[in-house]
Amino acid sequence: MASIIAGFLDRHYFLIRRLHSLTGVFPIGVYLFPHLATNSSIVWGKLLNESKLPAGQLESLGIAAHAGVETFQHEVNFIHSLPGLVLIEIGLLWLPIAYHGLLGIYFAGTGRSNVDRYRYQDNWRYTLQRITGYIGVLFIFIHITSLRFGWTYWGLMPAFDPQAAASSTAQHFQQSTLGTTFIAAFYLVCVLALVYHFANGLWTAAITWGLTVSVHAQRRWGYVCGAVGLMLAGATVVSVIGFSRLDIDAARQIEQVMRNGPAGAARHVEPGGSDVLSASPDGRDP
């Protein structure tokens, strides 16, 4: 059996390696853009958008409008309205991530970093690419299992409820048994590691596929990848700060008003993750 697998790997070695390179850029890397854009909408939505809810209704509840909560909920609703979402998740996310991650661990094991002897910037870049890869695999597993499948890791990470997107994400950050700072730092380190992994991977993929041949072309493409990385890193920082500081109760009430429609044109929605909402005494439906 082992020899059959080895033979298969030998015959299709190039295809396997190139698919590994491709999946890192598309769909995994490309997915970072909408994902981080959606997450950071908790901040840019507040700054750029106007609240669409009737002001009187929020005033009667004693809360201020927060267009970021509305925007984020709107984005999450859009994603959950996509037809065949599970197929998209499996085909464009979980399988490519599993392929890229598991093979990446194997390929990273074929090298041995020597930054102790050769302290070149590029050599650090190479070494960091492997370290951030390991971090990324671990993080994505925790991230998907906690926010998608509701594993709370013994209260460390409260689950996500797409019906109450912003407030449950804020709970995920703020109601951990280890505190907001820990979760915020965990997300910052892990997501910034992944952003680095993508930006550097985008740079090396251009060499692998032969797009940037000359040193000058590689340097120019490096500026592009650096800018992409800084942009995504900015969205990461903004998202983490936004959810770490969000007023959970106010966000939940805004989401309830959104669910029930303006002026009580009642469309009662059963909360998807009712355990999340009932976890707090203020979370009951009116």
Partner: protein, 269 residues
């Protein structure tokens, strides 16, 4: 090179700390020798002095340190070793630059990616085996006269001239985090082929006559141990004593195998 003039420089003594191993399979050890250094001395001349006076710093009689050397002008690559932990040719390594003061220490080790034969001497056979894997030659042997070769442009000649300066020294392999020691010849065909061979594939694929073997070379490059094993650490280009644009060669072969494999997918060959 400015001739050193100070008294201290002329009479100074430099300590050589050398990693020694009597033969393959035996444990290695450090031995130190104090060598009186003349201005302009290089590592090889110091090893020659040690061969004439093989006495360690504890006054113990030892034997001459084995090393490989050929041209003594940095074009053959035979004397490549680790000097203060970094790979380079020892013949072009001037003591005045590395150990300018009396009592300075220089550390000599054999390359770590090739099997040690004795002391500083390694067996670089795998490096040359990689050149046969790559078919790094122009096939002109045959039963009939092939006539004159194709015309070439000066621009293309200039690109190839730089690549042709490779002396197969092994610096790029020693510094590569993806290139690891493989003692047994049976594993050489699947282990990483290395930057030098990828660059030679480019050299001969861009040669007007050499390119009749282009697809053979690219097939080697897409196989196990081929170009996919490159991790883009780019140490190779930084340690290359001939400043060969190895990373450009890797990208150029990367482009060639991209096109080759797409063509193969649609035409079947």
């Amino acid at each position: 090179m400015v001739a050193p003039t100070t008294e201290a420089l002329q009479t100074r003594s430099v300590r050589f700390r050398i990693k020694r191993q009597d033969r393959p399979g035996l444990p290695w050890r450090w031995e130190s020798f104090d060598v009186p250094v003349e201005p302009g001395a290089n590592v090889i001349s110091c090893l020659q002095w040690i061969a004439a006076n093989p006495r360690t710093i504890d006054g113990r009689d030892s034997n001459p340190v084995a090393y490989d050397a050929g041209c003594l002008e940095e074009v053959c690559g035979a004397c490549t070793m680790l000097i203060n932990g970094q790979v380079r040719q020892s013949c072009s390594c001037l003591i005045d630059q590395y150990a300018p003061k009396d009592g300075d220490v220089m550390r000599l080790e054999p390359m770590s990616k090739f099997p040690v034969v004795r002391d500083l001497m390694v067996d670089r056979q795998r490096l040359f085996h990689a050149l046969t894997r790559t078919k790094a030659w122009v096939p002109i042997d045959g039963t009939y006269h092939l006539g004159p070769g194709p015309q070439d442009t000066p621009q293309s000649q200039q690109v190839r001239y730089k690549l042709s300066e490779c002396m197969s020294c092994g610096c790029c392999l020693e510094a590569c985090p993806q290139y690891k020691l493989e003692e047994h010849e049976s594993r050489w065909d699947k282990a990483f082929i290395g930057a030098h061979a990828i660059s030679q594939a480019r050299l001969f694929n861009e040669h007007g006559t050499g390119n009749v073997l282009a697809s053979d070379r690219l097939e080697t490059m897409i196989g196990p141990g081929g170009i996919s094993d490159c991790g883009n650490a780019q140490n190779c280009v930084k340690v290359c004593p001939k400043d060969i644009p190895l990373t450009e060669s890797i990208a150029a072969i990367g482009r060639a195998v991209t096109i080759h494999s797409i063509r193969k997918f649609f035409t079947g060959k």
